[in-house]
Amino acid sequence: MDGAGAMNRCLLALLPMLTLGGCGGFQSPIAPAGEQASSINSLFWLTIAVCGFMYLLVLGALGLSLWRAWRRRGETAEPSINPADHGLSRTLVFWCGLILIGLTTLIVGSFLVDRTIAQARARDALEVRVTGHQWWWRIQYRDPATGGWIETANELHLPLGRTTRVSLGSADVIHSFWVPNIAQKLDLIPGRINLLDLTPTRAGWFRGQCAEFCGAQHAHMAFDVKVDTPQEFDGWLAAQARPASAPADPAASRGLAVVTGGQCAMCHAIRGTSAVGKAGPDLTHFGSRRSIAAGTLTMSRGAIQGWIAQPQALKPGTMMPPVALSPADSDAASRYLMGLR
């Protein structure tokens, strides 16, 4: 009836919206920029095709029976008991066959995609550790030179065309690591290590976000993802391996004193200074990052000052306590932190 027709038109109208919405997306599974996401994206469209076909069949059959009913309205309402339905029974067998073919296609498709994704496990890969915290991401790269770990937070850099193997763990509750453009999501579970392979195929900025509810600020537990060319990546990693740069001017020097001498150093580490706290994100190259507080604010001096003074207003429930600084100290601290590139 008209319900079916309206629904159908609605669906057709929404499909282009979906492609439009998806293509530009920097946090979308259907705008793939990685091998894994790309395999899954093909599976997605295969599934849409199979399911869409089945749905149109159902709507067609429903529409046809309602149309017949409408034409025959007003005829006798005497109920018919067990009418012969041989034609229908045969059609039911055919319909079951069709469903089985559709399901088999999708099951085989899923199996093949799963295997394709699994193949990356055999490759030599860059080793990265990601640990979920309420509500931010600790990220550690294996240092190719020393074999130690280079720590950063809330911003993941990946080399283009090479597989990165992320080992996922949690420091507190269950989180889920998800960079939809590049690969599927995988949970971070206390007491377990999950391995996820990411093989980016397109350079640029993407975004990841925690996908498993993890408490008050689950909504603000995101991270930026930058896919670099291999040369850019090597340069970036080398820069990350270095200790923090010395303050460039007197204001920044005052900022260094504020940051290392006050509350900040109790939770944050800045390699090369006396700040060695481990509870919060590493700030050694803080100024090189794109955002603050796990994707909550865009990086700027004003945002840094606001975050230090009023973290509970910007991200209620965050573990970061408010730090009362004089305007001059606040300005100095933000200059210093912005300079940590």
Partner: protein
């Protein structure tokens, strides 16, 4: 046995006296009438749907535009937790039980359920669960971790206070109540069918309730176990889910979803029963593929227990397991597809009349199939690892739960309303609320599929403008508001029609099953005489009035017990009289459950009043079963 010339004697006044409740508040507290108990369930459910619906609207307003600050994250988290827990545990499952408690005895030509006092107990305990969740909410203590509270977030370290305990114990309440209701339905269907109603002649809705009740009995112990383990972890440091002490948080997820997936079908299978019943009567022909539909329900029930892992594909389980559960989950599409075919086939070959109940069935097919197909998408392990925990899944489960269960429920409500009240619901307002709900729902929830594909995770209280999710969220909010308006109109229509509706008579739709043989609303003893059934659609095949059986006592409460397969009369069983014991037993259990979130000793001392209440309840005083002469009469 059958004397074609005999006529049943006039209904003895005595029968009405024997089955009468005491007047006033005492009658209210002691009644064991399945119809009154079911009505209570339904009133409670409607009130809760209103409250949880308001929470939903509140959340939709918060998400309507980026960076909204009208709700704090705490309030938002409490809202979705309360909304989900209420809708799943206190609305969807209980309302299906209520429909079963109300309809099953009527469809079986019986005067009562197998265990009338157990039915009263299950309602009172369910009410205890409602209060366990909503009274603390009124006092400002609300669970805030969603409708499944995964440890360690819900463990003692990350959730101090009693929010998580309240949630866990609310589940214990509702699940004990649901088990009581399910055992009752199973026993009634197996042992209290009217003579002649062999297994092959059981009405389709009774099959659906029977299958859903069996599923309930197998599924619910898992969730009671897991929430009890959570409470033990929180109260006496058992460390079941503490990784650092050798426990495993994933164990919680396995046990929860071992219940959680069957739960979805416990809600859906009765809805499929509604749809089958409505399609048959409104198509004016016996349901095409009755056996196929029953077997499909059984297949769904069996498969339901073998695919819980599809809720956990992102946990990082072995790939072979993922492939197995992908195939198992997709397999459900086959029986579901068979059912859809049979319903459409019945419409195709029947002579449908387009009253509101049938409109709901049409909307159900159009909407539910979308939810079913998005379920097929989410069944694929690799695809699900992109879709799970996003708005795509939010859209999916609202399509299956609202489109797949609530639309048939609204249809069932409109269909059986005249039987329950004696009056018809207004068709005009019924159709208007239908279009508002169906249109608003699809407008509100279809865009969520796209939001999920644009990367919007579920359970976030806000998002920034740069994500580009604003416009579709605004559409979703507008659609939801329209649907809520439609829902309010539906309820208003039900109230208005109760006083002003057209008188219905006993059989306004030309129904096929036994409940349409009794007056509307049915008298307390339901049937003056036990009907005798010769087909699946007795009211269509016995046009000159039902054959009945006499011999049941009229001066006391007595029901007929029949054999499991052939429904041969076996003996007359005394049916319990009204009693206050179920009410007191429920209060005693409530005290035990509430106390046990504060101290483990509540389990010890709390068991004393429970023991006393049960002793009073079961004090041997009933007469034994009777085996006097039973006679079958025709007409």
């Amino acid at each position: 046995m059958i004397d074609p010339n005999a006529r049943p004697p006039a209904p003895p006044e005595q029968l009405a006296v024997s089955w009468r409740d005491a007047p006033g508040i005492w009658g209210f507290l002691t009644t064991v009438d399945h119809k009154r108990i079911a009505a209570r369930y339904i009133f409670t459910v409607v009130a809760l749907m209103f409250l949880a619906g308001m929470l939903a609207l509140d959340m939709r307003l918060q998400l309507a535009a980026p960076d909204m600050e009208r709700m704090t994250p705490q309030l938002y988290n409490e809202s979705f937790s309360l909304h989900g827990s209420t809708m799943l545990f206190l609305v969807s499952v209980p309302v299906m039980e209520a429909m079963g408690i109300w309809l099953v005895p009527l469809m079986l030509g019986q005067r009562a359920l197998a265990f009338p006092r157990l039915a009263a107990f299950s309602y009172w305990l369910y009410l205890g669960g409602v209060m366990m969740l909503w009274v603390p909410h009124a006092l400002g203590v609300t669970p805030d971790l969603g409708w499944f509270e995964y440890p360690p977030l819900s463990g003692p370290a990350y959730s101090p206070g009693h929010r998580a305990d309240i949630w866990a114990q609310m589940i214990t309440f509702t699940e004990v109540a649901a088990l009581a209701a399910s055992v009752n339905v199973v026993a009634t269907v197996l042992k209290m069918r009217p003579p002649g109603m062999t297994l092959a002649r059981i009405p389709i809705f009774v099959w659906a309730m029977f299958i859903a009740s069996l599923m309930t009995i197998f599924a619910l112990p898992a969730v009671m176990l897991v929430t009890s383990m959570l409470i033990a972890d929180r109260m006496v440091s058992t460390q079941f889910f503490a990784a650092a002490a050798g426990g495993d948080p994933v164990l919680f997820q396995h046990l929860f979803w071992w219940f959680g997936h069957p739960e979805v079908y416990i809600i859906f299978v009765p809805a499929a029963g509604f749809v089958s019943a409505i399609v048959e009567v409104f198509s004016r022909r016996t349901l095409f593929g009755h056996v196929a539909v029953v077997l499909s329900m059984l297949a769904i029930a069996a498969l339901a227990f073998g695919l819980w892992v599809h809720h956990m594909f992102a946990v990082g389980l072995p790939r072979l397991g993922n492939d197995f559960y992908t195939a198992a989950s997709m397999a459900v599409a086959l029986p579901a597809g068979v059912q859809i075919f049979c319903w459409i086939g019945t419409l195709f070959t029947g002579r449908p009349r387009f009253d509101t109940p049938l409109l709901w069935v049409v909307a159900f097919i159009v909407t539910f199939v979308i939810g079913g197909l998005s379920g097929v998408m989410a069944a694929s392990a690799p695809l699900d690892q992109q879709l799970t925990d996003t708005y795509f899944i939010v859209a999916h489960f609202h399509y299956v739960l609202i489109g797949g269960a609530m639309f048939p429920l609204f249809g069932a409500f409109a269909y059986w309303y005249p039987k329950a009240t004696g009056r018809m619901m207004s068709e005009f307002w019924g159709k208007l609320s239908f279009w508002l709900i169906v249109g608003g729902f699809n407008l509100g929830f279809f865009p969520m599929h796209i939001l999920g594909l644009e990367g919007m995770p579920r359970r976030i209280y806000t998002y920034s403008e740069g994500m580009g999710w604003g416009p579709l969220n605004m559409v979703a909010t507008i659609g939801s508001a329209i649907a809520v308006a439609g829902g309010l109109l539906f309820v208003a229509n039900a109230f208005w029609s109760f006083y002003r509706g057209k008188l219905a008579g006993s059989d306004p739709w030309g129904g096929s099953t036994l409940e349409w043989a009794v007056p509307s609303p049915p008298p307390q003893h339901n049937f003056d005489h036990m009907p005798v059934v010769d087909s699946l659609t007795p009211l269509w095949t016995q046009k000159d009035g039902l054959a009945v059986m006499t011999g049941l006592a009229v001066d006391r409460r007595e029901v007929l017990v029949t054999s499991v397969v052939e429904a041969e009369p076996e003996y007359r069983q005394k049916s319990p009289k009204p009693s206050i014991a179920p009410f007191f037993a429920a209060i005693a259990v409530t005290i035990l459950f509430v106390g046990s979130i504060y101290t483990p000793w509540a389990l010890v001392w709390g068991s004393v009043p429970v023991g006393i209440a049960l002793t009073v309840w079961f004090w041997p005083q009933r007469e034994r079963a009777h085996t006097g002469p039973l006679r079958v009469r025709s007409r």
